[in-house]
């Protein structure tokens, strides 16, 4: 605790005879603050003292007492607020060289009594300011970590003929070290990476960025995933901070043959959904950066039509329910086996995790998923041709409708049916922005267009829930008679414009799927 110094002056020279005006202390009359250790007995004495304490007559084995005496302090007046000693008012000798009188002591005691609450308020304000600065610094560091991660994750996923590739990344509030990457390689091959750096925040983000860059560079030099991980490990190990390492799965896909060669540096085992069930893609290898000279086992698997791979991070299997039970590998494996593959798998797994944790649970760790699916044979095959997030702002539905129409023109929809789709997309997007997202700028509407051999599908998702009441069927005569409101045509129009309309709700998102069959007039 620092003592107050404003009233403590070391007498260095005699003042000139009685001045009618108060004289401010000069710099030479100030003394340095005296620190009193928390365990110094003087503090306990002052805490229980009533009024000013005469230091000259005080008998205590206290280093602070000696120090105060040495700088000329005569009286210490405890400043007590709500029973707590919050400061000490130290005063030197009187300028008159006389002892402090009883009146002087009463005056000092009264001053201390009035000053203590004000001082306490000042201390609390300073404390809150310091805490606010700490919080701000923490938030800034989190933001830096988020920025690093965001900049080192792929902005676009490659369009592979015959394949669907999708990714999902949702950082926890305290950003972890998850990352994924999709790397174009020589010969039309594609590298798929998912990894996790131990630790969180900026350190994890920096190691993630370094790992990603090194892996990208070595991936271009060798088609063998095990060799790539070996080289990455050798490169990272010397500079890896203590107690940090990186788990990482790396696979190289030949999209023409469907062959995936892979190696794994201690990352959670990916799952391949096949017609015969869910297969674990296991390969031995130590995490990156732990020790030099590591070898990484290489394995190979062939994707058949419809097979779907899920790469995932531990934020999924380690998500806890309210009873602290983890979601677990077996649950995830069963979910992969049960759910459709590809993009749909991501939404379904997220819904399962949310159901496990409860809807209001805070996400504990980063959640990352990458799906790679070979198109199924037959009419069910679809590929995504447009996937965009649209700000919920009035009028944006026009642009969405135009984009969708441009994307699917030339796919066998007549002009009239294209007009119908345009109107349906505009109406569904407007509903999503207005009713689902309440025109909140931070809640975008997701629009995804997929094309199959026989149909075009447009999925429009918002953050709302379907209304509890069935939508009133618009009746024009009732509207003209004032029995229904003039509005309420949106869903009616959408249904009338498309061949099929389906509504689903999953993981807090409401999705309207519009289907138009190709080739019909």
């Amino acid at each position: 605790m620092a003592t107050l110094t404003g009233s403590l002056r070391r007498r260095r020279h005699r003042r000139v005879a009685a001045s009618p005006l108060p004289v401010a202390p000069t710099a030479s009359e100030q003394v340095a603050p005296v620190d009193i250790a928390p365990n110094d007995p003087l503090l306990a004495y002052l805490q229980s003292a009533h009024g000013p304490v005469d230091l000259e007559t005080l008998d205590l084995d206290s280093s602070a007492l000696s120090e105060l005496r040495a700088v000329g302090v005569k009286l210490s007046v405890p400043l007590i607020s709500q029973g707590e000693l919050i400061g000490v008012l130290n005063v030197g000798p009187r300028r008159s060289e006389q002892d402090y009188s009883i009146d002087d002591r009463r005056l000092l005691d009264s001053l201390a009594t009035q000053a203590a609450p004000a001082l306490r308020v000042g201390q609390l304000v300073r404390q809150q300011e310091a805490e606010a600065r700490t919080r701000q610094r923490f938030e800034q560091e989190l933001e830096v970590a988020r920025l690093i991660q965001k900049n080192f994750l792929p902005h676009d996923l490659p369009q592979l003929e015959g394949w669907d590739v999708a990714a999902y990344y949702q950082p926890a509030r305290e950003v972890g070290g998850d990352f994924y990457d999709v790397i174009p390689l020589p010969g039309g091959h594609v590298g798929f990476v998912i990894g996790d750096v131990t630790d969180k925040g900026v350190p994890a983000a920096l190691v993630m960025a370094a790992t990603r860059s090194v892996l990208r560079a070595f991936a271009q030099q060798s088609a063998a995933p095990g060799t790539v991980l070996e080289r990455v490990n050798e490169h990272l190990h010397p500079d890896m901070p203590e107690k940090m390492f990186v788990t990482c799965f790396y696979g190289v896909l030949d999209p023409r043959s469907g062959v995936l060669r892979f190696a794994n540096a201690g990352h959670d085992v990916p799952y391949l959904k096949t017609a015969g069930g869910c297969v674990e893609l296991r390969a031995r290898g130590m995490p990156l950066g732990l020790m030099p000279g590591m070898a990484y086992e290489e394995k190979e698997v062939v994707f058949e039509a419809g097979d779907s791979l899920l790469l995932h991070s531990d934020g999924i299997v380690e998500a806890h329910d309210p009873a602290r039970q983890m979601f677990g590998f077996e649950t995830l494996k069963a979910a992969v086996a049960r759910h459709p593959g590809g993009t749909e798998a991501i939404a379904r797994v997220l819904a399962d995790v949310r159901q496990h944790t409860g809807p209001d649970a805070e996400q504990e760790d980063d959640i990352t998923m990458v799906t790679v699916q070979r198109w199924p044979d037959g009419p069910g095959r679809e590929r995504i041709v447009l996937d965009l997030d649209v700000e919920s702002r009035e009028g944006n539905e026009r642009g969405v409708a135009a984009q969708v129409a441009a994307e699917v023109s030339g796919l066998g929809l007549s002009e009239a049916r294209l007009d119908r789709l345009r109107t349906a997309v505009a109406e569904a997007t407007m509903n999503a922005m207005e009713h689902g997202n309440s025109y909140r700028a931070d809640l975008p509407v997701r629009v995804q267009v997929s094309v199959g051999p026989e149909q075009v599908r447009v999925r429009i998702s918002d953050h709302g829930q379907p209304g509890p009441e069935p939508v009133e069927q618009p009746d024009l005569e009732a509207k003209l008679a004032g029995l229904q409101r003039p509005r309420g045509w949106g869903l009616f129009l959408i249904k009338a414009m498309v061949d099929d309309l389906e509504e689903t709700t999953s993981d807090g998102r409401h999705t309207v799927q519009l289907t138009m069959r190709r080739g019909e007039q």
Partner: protein, 123 residues
Amino acid sequence: MTTGTPTTVRQRDGVAVIDVRGDVDSRAEEALDAAWNEALAGRPSAVALNFSDTGYINSTGIALVVGILAAARAQRLPVRAFGLSPHYLEIFEITRLADFLTISADEDTAIDDPGNTTGREHR
């Protein structure tokens, strides 16, 4: 109207023609209301809505047309429409607007001979 081109009202042979320009959506409400009031001020025998320069009509725009029809019904005033694209003609039929106003192929027909049209006369 998102195009910024104002909706205007003109009189032709006792019929008030409202030239609806631009998009017919929520932002068109004020302009359509003003046009309707201006049309009524001329004490017309009918009102014709000209959609020749209309690019986009959404469900809110349909609701605005419903509002005009309801107001016309209260005034016992026939409403006609022309200049609709095939797509919006289809929407007027699906919503049954076509049952409550007379839809003509062009302005001359809408003014001169509204009975000989693709739609049905206002009732």
